[in-house]
């Protein structure tokens, strides 16, 4: 197992277009890092470059301290698991797993030992003499991983290995991958577009957009302190609500009313020379029915009155959807772009829809005005022009 360094890695095509732009990243030995981003962001291209399947246009790639830019895949000593598993259909499972070892001319005894060990680890030992066509999706996935494990490589590269499985299987395999990685202490690079996988599997997550790295850090950090609008909108299965607003001294003026900002936020904004026009983000779980909040907590936030036009009860939560007037002429170009890319639909028209997650004990009703409390400490402020986060506490973040 080894550390991997990406030093200004860039991929440029002959016609000048760039799929990956200047990615800098240090991956430590044994780390599980996830590359995530919308389709076309360059994450698979990046993985292919690390594997050696595509040429690196500029920048340096170091595996275990060695510069490997010009090495072919077989000399880089990395193993890859593909989205389609890429199992050789005409070979049995055993031969599939033995193939790379045979190419490397390992002695048959060693090959047999490694294959058996990997098969046991992945619980596919009983399928060793069957062909891929007679296996289920989950079994095939494990064979693909087995083929990677037997090589005992410096790093594992995984390209959306779980996307072809159904939801339930995906959850099972996720835990298996996680356990395996911890047991083998394997440096793993994992590409996905599913942010649930990213949040649960990764020691760190790197978000890519248009080939540029947006942020890299532990899942919690990306969730709580996103570096920009894009990361904020992308991470989190409950999408963040966004609305343009304006800073006015110590309070925030936005269509939901004027909201006083916490002292810490005000201080950080002043330090950073924040502009007047901002985009405000708040997650659904940072709302609550004001009637259910005790006074102490109420002081930590602010209350607004909204009129939910739809309520969804999921048993453990109630989701309230309410319209928020869109301010005319607000500078929210970046917001539109981000919305398009992160897949959240921004309906045209004078209103935007917000989602609030309420406790199941709520008495909220459709069409009835609701006192809604929001946690002002969880408000995230972003520059309206370029989307950068305005109030990140840089002392907390070391990377």
């Amino acid at each position: 197992m080894a550390a991997i360094t990406l030093d200004k890695i860039t991929k440029r095509y002959p016609d000048g277009t760039e799929a990956v732009r200047g990615v800098d990243l240090e991956i430590t030995d044994g780390e599980f890092i996830v590359f995530i981003g919308p389709s076309g962001c360059g994450k698979t291209t990046l993985l292919n470059m690390i594997a050696g399947l595509e040429d690196i246009s500029s920048g340096e790639l170091r595996i275990g301290g060695r510069v490997v830019n010009l090495l072919s895949p077989k000399d880089r000593d990395v193993a890859m698991v593909f989205q389609s598993y890429a199992l050789y259909p005409h070979m049995t499972v055993r031969r599939n797993m033995a193939f790379p070892l045979k190419i490397a001319r390992l002695p048959p005894g060693e090959i047999g030992r490694r294959v058996t060990r990997a098969a046991e680890l992945l619980e596919i030992a009983e399928h060793l003499d069957r062909k891929p066509a007679s296996l289920s999706g989950g079994q095939r996935q494990r064979v693909a991983m087995g083929r990677a494990i037997v090589r005992d490589p410096q790093a594992f590269l995984m390209d959306e290995p779980l996307s072809n499985l159904d939801a339930k299987l995906r959850v099972q395999m996720r835990t298996m991958i996680s356990r395996l990685q911890r047991r083998l202490r394997a440096t793993t690079l994992y590409v996905t577009h599913d942010q649930t996988e990213a949040m649960t599997l990764g020691d760190r997550i790197m978000v890519l957009r248009h080939g540029r790295m947006q942020q890299a850090g532990p899942p919690r950090e990306l969730y709580d302190h996103p570096a920009n609008l894009f990361v904020a909108g992308f991470i989190g299965s409950l999408a963040m609500n966004f609305l343009p607003g304006q800073l006015a001294g110590s309070s925030l003026s936005w269509p939901l009313g004027d909201v006083p900002l916490p002292a810490g936020t005000i201080r950080r904004l002043a330090e950073g020379n924040a502009p007047q026009d901002v985009i405000v983000g708040i997650r659904p779980e940072d709302f609550e029915d004001a009637a259910l909040i005790d006074d102490a907590k109420r002081a930590r936030g602010a209350a607004v009155v909204v009129r939910p036009d739809m309520l969804e009860s999921l048993g453990s939560d109630v989701f309230a959807y309410f319209p928020v007037p869109r301010r005319r002429g607000a500078q929210a170009g970046e917001l539109e772009r981000v919305a398009a890319e992160t897949g959240s639909s921004v309906a045209p028209g004078p209103e935007r829809t917000f989602v609030a997650r309420l406790s199941p004990a709520t008495r909220a009703h459709q069409g009835v005005p609701l006192d809604l409390w929001l946690d002002t400490h969880k408000l995230r402020l972003f520059d309206a022009q370029d989307g950068t986060a305005l109030d990140r506490d840089l002392n907390v973040l070391k990377r």
Partner: protein, 273 residues
């Protein structure tokens, strides 16, 4: 039988009749007693093997038949090997000149063979290849390659890209990828191509009559073009019909067994039967 089935059944029958009548006619003629050949009836009034035994007496037909088989097989084997290599390169690799090659092979498929007969005739005479097996095998190679490459590259394109990537990461060289991963998977395509190429060589007429002069290398179709029959005094019709039936049998068998493959090959995999 529902009305719908009856209609389709009728349509099928008409189609089958259309395609089989000329073949049946040959069979009928072949089995007619030589004396009744001129009676113009569709069914033989008297069945006899005389025509068949006639053509197998002496080497007038046997030798050309052997030539057809030998030349056909050799040309097929070489053509398939060469085409497999080129088709793999075209379908899976990136190199300058690829489009030119595809365009060129297409051009050759469209060449009028008659245009090449005269120069080839002269060239082969000069090289001493005239009236020899290589003298036919080489032109057959050149003219079957476009069809073979076209069919094979369609099959190669069906092999998923990921398999090659996986093999590359597993450490296989280009050559190992071709032999261990791609070729075994393309085997059905290779078989189909071999069948199509063999049918082409077996069927070929123009070069066969132009580039050969004796039964040293004359193939069966060419020999039939110049048949004189069992004896000078009988119509050669019976012998020709018998010969035609004999050279048709292998094709009929091939088509019956491999009809799905042939359809898949000629429609480049679009129709899998």
């Amino acid at each position: 039988m529902t009305w719908r089935q009856t209609r389709w059944g009728a349509a099928n029958l008409i189609t089958v009749a259309w395609t089989l009548f000329p073949i049946w006619w040959l069979v009928a003629l072949a089995f007619k007693d030589p004396a009744t050949l001129a009676d113009g009836s569709f069914w033989p009034r008297q069945w006899s093997w005389a025509n068949f035994s006639g053509i197998f007496r002496g080497s007038a037909f046997v030798r050309p038949l052997i030539n057809s088989i030998g030349i056909g097989l050799i040309a097929t084997v070489i053509s398939v090997v060469v085409a497999t290599m080129a088709a793999y390169a075209i379908a899976r690799l990136n190199f300058p000149g690829k489009r030119v090659l595809v365009g060129v092979s297409l051009l050759i498929a469209m060449f009028p063979q008659i245009s090449l007969v005269s120069p080839l005739f002269n060239i082969e005479r000069a090289l001493g290849l005239f009236n020899t097996w290589p003298g036919l095998i080489i032109p057959y190679l050149a003219f079957s390659l476009p069809l073979a490459i076209y069919t094979l590259s369609a099959f190669f394109r069906e092999v998923p890209w990921d398999l090659e990537k996986a093999a590359k990461v597993d450490g296989a060289s280009q050559r190992q990828i071709l032999t261990h991963v791609i070729a075994p998977l393309a085997l059905p395509g290779i078989a189909t191509t071999a069948i199509l190429v063999f049918m082409f060589c077996w069927n070929e007429f123009l070069f066969a009559i132009s580039l050969t002069s004796t039964d040293a290398s004359m193939t069966a179709p060419a020999a039939m073009g110049f048949f004189t029959g069992v004896s000078q005094f009988t119509f050669p019709i019976g012998s020709i019909a018998a010969a035609a039936v004999v050279i048709t049998i292998p094709i009929v068998i091939l088509v019956m067994i491999f009809q799905r493959r042939i359809v898949a090959g000629l429609t480049s995999g679009a129709v899998k039967g």
